[in-house]
C-alpha cells in the first residue's frame, strides 16, 4: 500500500504540490489526471525517490521514501515521461544491464529478458541500437525496463503520449495485463484512457487534489444525469416549443442541424424519469420522423472540466 501524507513540494518560491493526501491499495490501477503542470509528474518523482519532498511523507508498505529509498526503489518500476533511455546501447544490452543492476539473480537474467521481450513485443528490435527505434518501440522498451524485475509497484508517467491510436491501445492493454497483479500508478491527460483502464482516479490541479473515486463515482458527481439526444425531421419552428411542453423534460437545447428540416436536440429529463416514450409519442402525434435516438451519460470530459476549472 502507498500512503501519501501532507505531501508538499516547493521549487524556489513556486508551490508545486500543496499538502496532498491519498492512498493507493495493493493491486489497484490508479489514474492520475490533471492539466499540464498540475503536479502529477512531481508526485511520481517523489514516490520513485528522484526528488525529495519539501514536507510531508510517502509510505510504501509502511516504509518511508526518504529513509528507505533504496528498498522501495527495489520494489518499484518507473517509466519517466520523456522515456530517457541509453540511446547508444542495443535493446538486449540495455535490458541485460537493467536486469543486472536491479539484482535479478544471474541464472534468471536471460529468462526475465525473454519474458519482457515477449510481453512488450520487442522480438524484432532486440539487436537494434535504441537510438534507431520508433517512438512506439522506445515506449515499449521503457515499459520493458520497468517490469523486468517484477516490481510490486509500477509508476508510469504519461505512458501513451506521442503514440498512434493502435499503439495506445496496445500499451493500454499491456498496462491492464500487468495491472492484474501489480499496483500501477499512471498519469495521463487522455480522458478516455483513465476511463478504460483505471480502478480509481485522482484528479489533481494546481498541486491539490480536487477529486477522487472510481470512474463511475466521478461521472456521477459531475452532473450524474443522463441526457437524451434525438434527431427529428419535421417543422423546426415548432418542434422545440411542443417538446418543451412535455412536463417531464427539464430543458432542451438545439444541438445541430443536418438539413433545413432535420435538427438534433439535447434533452435533459427530470431526474429519474425515462422520457424516451414521451418524446416518441409526441413525435408520432405530430407526424415527425425520429431519425436518431441516443442516451448520453456525463463523460469523463465533463468531470475533468468540472474539477479542474
Amino acid at each position: 500500500m502507498i500512503r501519501v501524507e501532507n505531501l508538499s513540494k516547493k521549487i524556489g518560491e513556486t508551490k508545486i504540490l500543496d499538502s496532498i493526501n491519498f492512498e493507493i491499495n495493493d493491486g489497484e490501477i490508479l489514474g492520475f489526471l490533471g492539466p499540464n503542470g498540475a503536479g502529477k509528474t512531481t508526485t511520481m518523482k517523489i514516490i520513485t525517490g528522484f526528488w525529495t519532498p519539501s514536507s510531508g511523507n510517502i509510505f510504501v508498505n509502511d516504509m518511508n521514501v526518504i529513509d528507505n529509498s533504496l528498498e522501495i526503489r527495489d520494489k518499484l518500476g518507473y517509466l519517466p515521461e520523456t522515456v530517457p533511455l541509453y540511446d547508444e546501447m542495443k535493446v538486449y544490452e540495455y535490458l541485460k544491464f537493467i536486469a543486472e543492476i536491479r539484482s535479478v539473480a544471474p541464472e534468471k537474467v536471460k529468462e526475465s529478458i525473454k519474458t519482457v521481450i515477449n510481453s512488450c513485443g520487442l522480438e524484432k528490435v532486440i539487436k537494434k541500437p535504441i537510438e534507431e527505434l520508433s517512438k512506439g518501440y522506445r515506449q515499449r522498451v521503457g515499459l520493458a525496463q520497468a517490469i523486468i524485475h517484477e516490481p510490486d509497484i509500477l509508476v508510469l508517467d504519461e505512458p501513451t503520449t506521442g503514440l498512434d491510436p493502435n499503439q495506445i491501445i496496445e500499451i493500454r492493454n499491456l498496462i491492464k495485463e500487468i495491472g492484474k497483479n501489480k499496483t500501477v500508478i499512471f498519469s495521463t491527460h487522455i480522458l478516455s484512457e483513465v476511463q478504460a483502464t483505471c480502478d480509481r482516479i485522482i484528479i489533481i490541479k494546481n498541486g491539490q487534489i480536487t477529486g477522487q473515486g472510481t470512474p463511475a463515482e466521478l461521472t456521477q458527481r459531475a452532473g450524474g444525469q443522463e441526457m437524451i439526444y434525438v434527431k427529428i425531421k419535421g417543422p423546426q419552428a415548432i418542434i422545440k416549443n411542443i417538446l418543451e411542453q412535455i412536463n417531464v423534460i427539464e430543458s432542451i437545447i438545439e444541438k445541430d442541424r443536418e438539413a433545413d428540416d432535420i435538427f438534433g436536440y439535447e434533452i435533459k429529463p427530470r431526474a429519474g424519469i425515462d422520457v424516451r416514450e414521451y418524446i416518441a409519442n409526441t413525435a408520432m402525434q405530430n407526424n415527425w420522423s425520429i431519425l436518431e435516438f441516443s442516451k448520453k451519460s456525463a463523460s469523463m470530459e465533463d468531470v475533468f472540466r468540472e474539477l479542474t476549472k
Partner: protein, 250 residues
C-alpha cells in the same frame, strides 16, 4: 555469524552494483566513435611530439615523455569525463539512473572506475614507446614504472575533477572547456615558475596543491606517501563533491 553473513552479502551486492554500472559505462565509451578518435589522436600527437625530439637528443630515455604526459592529460582526461554526467542530464537518463536501486556513491564510483579503466587502457597502448626504446638501448625500468604509477594517480585526480565538473552542467562542451581550464590551474599552481614568483609564505602551499609537482616526484622514481596521500585526498574530495551535486537534484 548470521550477521556477518548478512553484512558479507550486503557488501557483495553493493560492489556487484558498482561493477554492473562500471561495465555499462565502460561499454558506452567504446560504443561511441569519439573514444577511438580521442585515443588515436592522443597516441599520434604524443608519439609525434616525443619522437620528434627523441632522435635529436639521441638518448634511450623517457624523461621528456613524462614531461609531455601531464600536458596531454590536460586534454585527454576532460575529453573522457565531459560526457559522463552532462549527457545523462541532457538526455534525462539521470532521472532513470538515480531511481535505480543504487545510492549516489555507487553511481559516482561506477562512473569514476569506468573512466579510470578507459584511461588505463589508453596508457597501456602507450607502452609501445618504452618497448621501442628498449630495443634501441638500455633503459632504466625503475623510473618508467614509477612514472606510469604516477600517471595513473595523476590521471585519476584529473578524472575526479572532470567528473565533478561534468555533473555541474548539461552541456558536454562546457564540461570539457571548464575541466581543461580548472585542471590547468591545478596543474600550473605547483609549477616552479609560479611557486618562485609567489609570496614566500604561499610558496610551499602552492607547491603542495599543484597536481604537477606531485607527479614530478613520482616520475623521478621517488614514491613518497605524501604524494600518494595528496592524490587520494584530491580524488576523494572531488568524488565527494560530485556525489553532493548529484544528491542536490531538487
Amino acid at each position: 555469524m548470521c550477521l556477518e553473513n548478512l553484512l558479507n552479502n550486503m557488501n557483495k551486492q553493493y560492489l556487484q552494483k558498482i561493477n554492473v554500472l562500471f561495465k555499462k559505462e565502460l561499454m558506452s565509451y567504446f560504443n561511441s566513435p569519439i573514444a577511438y578518435i580521442f585515443i588515436a589522436v592522443f597516441l599520434i600527437v604524443l608519439n609525434w611530439l616525443f619522437f620528434n625530439s627523441f632522435f635529436i637528443i639521441g638518448q634511450a630515455d623517457m624523461r621528456n615523455y613524462f614531461i609531455l604526459l601531464p600536458w596531454m592529460f590536460l586534454f585527454l582526461v576532460p575529453a573522457i569525463t565531459m560526457r559522463s554526467w552532462a549527457e545523462e542530464k541532457r538526455s534525462g537518463t539521470i532521472e532513470f539512473l538515480l531511481t535505480l536501486p543504487i545510492n549516489d556513491w555507487q553511481a559516482v564510483l561506477g562512473k569514476f572506475l569506468a573512466a579510470l579503466a578507459f584511461l588505463a587502457i589508453t596508457l597501456i597502448l602507450t607502452l609501445s614507446i618504452p618497448y621501442a626504446i628498449s630495443t634501441l638501448g638500455n633503459i632504466d625500468a625503475g623510473p618508467i614504472i614509477g612514472s606510469y604509477v604516477g600517471a595513473i594517480f595523476m590521471g585519476a585526480a584529473y578524472l575526479a575533477l572532470g567528473l565533478f565538473i561534468s555533473s555541474l552542467t548539461k552541456n558536454q562542451i562546457i564540461a570539457f572547456v571548464m575541466a581543461v581550464a580548472i585542471s590547468f590551474i591545478f596543474f600550473f599552481i605547483g609549477n616552479d615558475f609560479i611557486v618562485s614568483t609567489a609570496p614566500q609564505s604561499l610558496a610551499p602551499f602552492l607547491k603542495f596543491l599543484g597536481i604537477g609537482s606531485h607527479f614530478d616526484n613520482i616520475a623521478r622514481g621517488v614514491i613518497d606517501t605524501k604524494d600518494i596521500i595528496y592524490y587520494i585526498s584530491f580524488i576523494w574530495l572531488f568524488l565527494w563533491l560530485n556525489k553532493e551535486i548529484v544528491a542536490l537534484r531538487k
